[in-house]
């Protein structure tokens, strides 16, 4: 009962102004951030595109850790066989890394 009354009051307080209050939209009100100053640029800004390239390389190299980690945990049980397998895996990865490096993918400027 009390809850229903509270909900009713709260709903009325929110709902009635929506019905009767006048709405005048001005440019100033439409701005995302009102503080008396005009915003200079879009709030999110823009990243340099070169940042995205490095980010992509990071993801690629980073995800390979997922395969290295279980190998490291079981290193002793896997023995030399596992070691050789991991060398092959990392060797292929390093080939890709070499390609990125030699093709200038890591140049910042």
């Amino acid at each position: 009962m009390t809850f229903a009354f509270a909900a009713l009051v709260a709903g009325a307080l929110l709902g009635i102004p929506k019905l009767i209050a006048p709405r005048r939209l001005t440019p100033v009100k439409a701005e995302p951030f009102e503080c008396g100053m005009d915003p200079i640029a879009v709030a999110e800004g823009r990243f340099a595109i070169k940042f995205s390239t490095v980010a992509i390389f990071f993801i690629l190299i980073d995800i390979e850790l997922m395969f290295v980690w279980p190998w490291a945990v079981l290193y002793r049980e896997l023995g030399w066989f596992g070691f050789a397998e991991m060398l092959v895996f990392l060797g292929i990865l390093m080939l890709g890394f070499l390609y990125i490096w030699r093709k200038g993918g890591l140049e910042w400027e």
Partner: protein
């Protein structure tokens, strides 16, 4: 103790959200994010089913799917950036050079 079927149900919901996202959104980046959501829904299903089946196959599958997803991110972002450089805008509605 939560039964596996709840995880499967959640993964089905995530997968559906991903499908709807790809179909209704027009920004390639958001569509791509929805595709990633679908892949991860499959991952969740793999893990849940793997628990039920009592073997590690499902978890191993997840490892490979994650690696593939990362490769897909790299290729996808590169393609999207290329298109953006040419167009300066990003919406699949703009991809209208070729029509039947």
């Amino acid at each position: 103790m939560v039964a596996e079927s709840w995880y499967v149900a959640l993964s089905a919901v995530l997968f559906s959200i991903g499908v709807v996202g790809v179909v209704v959104r027009r920004n390639p980046l958001v569509m791509f994010m929805s595709i990633e959501l679908m892949l991860n829904a499959a991952n969740l299903a793999f893990v849940a089913f793997g628990r039920r089946a009592g073997n590690a196959d499902g978890q191993i599958a997840v490892f490979f799917v994650m690696a593939v997803a990362a490769a897909e991110v790299a290729v996808g972002l590169a393609i999207i950036v290329t298109v953006f450089r040419l167009r300066r805008r990003l919406s699949v509605d703009d991809l209208s050079l070729m029509r039947w």
